[in-house]
């Protein structure tokens, strides 16, 4: 129902509001209201989930905090809008949120016809399958005729259909929008299989399964799912800010700068570090931010490695392809200069 409300509201906003993008930049609007409005998952451990004290935690949440640190020098100036897979795009299109940081896959259609820009990749993922161990299934190729639980409006839903078609198999989808409800259906045995990105499977198994050892993640990874933050078309400045905040997180790890040591290392004579902390050059000004934007990001939130270790490692995630390019992974930031 909320989807409908948001979609209807979006229609009305699009219908009634004079073109706001032209009137005021997102950065000016964010500064005026004093916080970044960030769309996150309703609850996916390691990516975005409220902890026992109601504080949002996860790498998607940390990205929003990093943007707030870059803009305001205060990582706490973020407000969160928890969104289901179906609500997320209308919320961003209508201007209800400033950034969508909600394990969202970068695809051509979303980048073009939905009116969005993807500001990079925060986690390289791929789609997998989880089954109860007692079924004795060892491979996704043996899933012919299975009932599969999946959330609607995701790339997952499309990859699933593609994979079964390509392998000449059939399946019955059970499509439920709310993560809680779809997981209930899977754990109650309504489905044989739950499918989403492998990161999601690992997180769900660790945080939601009554007994994690009862569930097996099958070896096949059937798709590429680069997950990243998303902004609206039409505001290049804001797009640059989010993009370079993400790159700053990666660059800091590569330079060996962390929340613990950046104060001491700020005095370093290395030209890269000098530029990074804003002691030389004026990259910050070019982005429309203060010159200590990247310093604040690392000081207040940490580097990418710290985010990964704090949020994903405890759940059993491996760095794998999400390691820095210097260590054999895919994480690579263009030079900040």
């Amino acid at each position: 129902m909320r989807t409908l409300l948001i979609a209807t509201a979006a229609s009305l906003v699009l219908a009634a509001a004079p073109d706001r993008a032209a009137a005021q930049t997102t950065l000016a609007a964010v500064k005026a209201k004093g916080y970044v409005q960030c769309g996150v998952n309703t609850g996916l451990a390691g990516f975005s989930q409220p902890d026992s004290r109601g504080e949002w935690r996860g790498i998607d949440v940390d990205l929003c905090r990093a943007v707030a640190a870059a803009v305001f020098g205060d990582a706490a100036k973020v407000r969160y809008t928890p969104l289901t897979a179906q609500q997320r795009f209308t919320a961003l299109q209508s201007g209800e949120i400033d950034i969508l940081s909600r394990n969202t896959t970068w695809t051509a259609a979303r980048d073009s016809s939905l009116g969005f820009n993807f500001a990079g990749v925060i986690y390289y993922d791929g789609q997998g399958f989880m089954v109860p161990g007692k079924l004795g299934v060892k491979s996704a190729k043996a899933l012919n005729g299975a009932t599969v639980c999946v959330q609607p409006g995701t790339t997952t839903e499309l990859n699933l259909a593609d994979y079964f078609r390509a392998n000449g198999m059939t399946f019955k989808p059970v499509v439920i929008e709310k993560l809680e409800e779809v997981l209930n259906a899977y754990f109650a045995g309504r489905c044989d299989v739950y499918t989403t990105d492998v990161s999601g499977l690992v997180a769900v198994r660790a945080s939601r399964a009554p007994n994690p050892a009862d569930h097996v993640i099958l070896p096949e990874v059937i798709s590429k799912e680069p997950l990243g933050p998303v902004v609206r078309h039409g505001d290049d400045q804001w797009f640059d800010i989010v993009k370079w905040t993400l790159f700053a997180l990666l660059e800091a790890e590569e330079l060996g700068l962390s929340s613990k040591n950046i104060e001491q290392n700020a005095a370093s004579t290395s030209p890269s570090i000098q530029r990074f902390v804003g002691a030389s050059g004026d990259i910050g000004k070019m982005l429309g931010l203060g010159n200590r934007w990247a310093f604040n990001v690392v000081k207040l939130v940490g580097n990418y490695g710290e985010m990964f270790d704090a949020n994903l490692k405890p759940l059993g995630f491996d760095r794998g392809i999400n390691d820095l390019w210097t260590k054999g992974g895919l994480m690579y930031a263009p030079p900040i200069r």
């Binding site: 979609a7 016809s113 939905l114 995701t154 019955k172 059970v174 439920i176 045995g189």
Partner: protein, 384 residues
Amino acid sequence: MRLSTGDPRLRAAAYQAAALAAVILLGWYLVSNTLANLEARRIASGFAFLGREAGFEIGETSLIAYGAADTYLRALAVGLANTFRVALIGIVAATALGALIGLARLSRNWLVAKLAAAYVEFVRNVPLLVQLFFWYAVITENLPGPREAVEPLPGVFLANRGIFFPVPAWSAVHGWMLAATALGAGAALAHARWARRRQARTGRRPPVLAGAAALLVLPPALAWLAGGAPTRFSVPALAGFNFAGGAHLSPEFAALTAGLIVYTASFIAEIVRAGVLAIDRGQFEAAYALGLRRGLAMRLVVLPQALRAIVPPVTSQYLNLIKNSSLAVAIGYPDLVSIANTTINQTGQAIEGIAIIMAVYLTISLVISALMNWYNARIALKER
């Protein structure tokens, strides 16, 4: 004729023209501004996406064949068919159950009346969405998996994948049996009409029930025997992950239909009760004085009059049921709204998607209103 601003007719016409112009202008502003904003944000618009490949599967496609390679338009048609399936079964069953409960609440039997009252008060005061979750949980959480399915009758299986039951394997003979049944039903109606005329003429009512039963049962039975009495059944059997063969009701369909029927029936029950109570007690007494028993007095004298009070509010309950069926989204039944939501999300074209949903519900509701208004006019008091 002299035109002047003092002429009240002219003034009225001018005001109306101005109001109409304002409405049209507002509509034009909304549409053009929407298009301009969509263009500025480079969000795709238009209905071209309907012809593109949908790419997702749908769980229930019993009425229209569908695969992931079909178009969005076909996917939406499957959703609409699923909405109709629930609405049709829901309306018929809710009417029957509602009428039964409503009459039960008027019963002279204390226990029956109180049970019916408790049903109505409980069911209509709990939100429908909660009831849907309840029914869905009852089915998926309490029933075992397909490999440990309960078999209450031979060939009938209850599992958290739904209800599986055997159906006769289709053959040409079944077509003949259907035709024979239709023929028998026609004959039974003609027989009943003959009996009614005979009663009007002679005052004696010839027995109808036995003849009607025979006319309904015998022709299909004869067709079946003539066709060689095929007895092959398609029986559900465990194959791989799930049952194959037989017929099947999914938990989502069962939960949604059960929820809608039980909920709407409680409102219909109150409408039926109110309709009957609206008829003067004197009508009952007059019917008793003519020697009719309570059941006959109800059926022949009171209910036909009560219908006039019942039909209009029941119409709105039918409309409510259809609109409430969109709550299917919550429990994963692929109705129109669910498919349209997925379509909106895959294509990003929210305005078009919402417009389709609104247009379809509006059309369905207007058609049902028109039908019920026609029926209401037919049974309304004929004033001569």
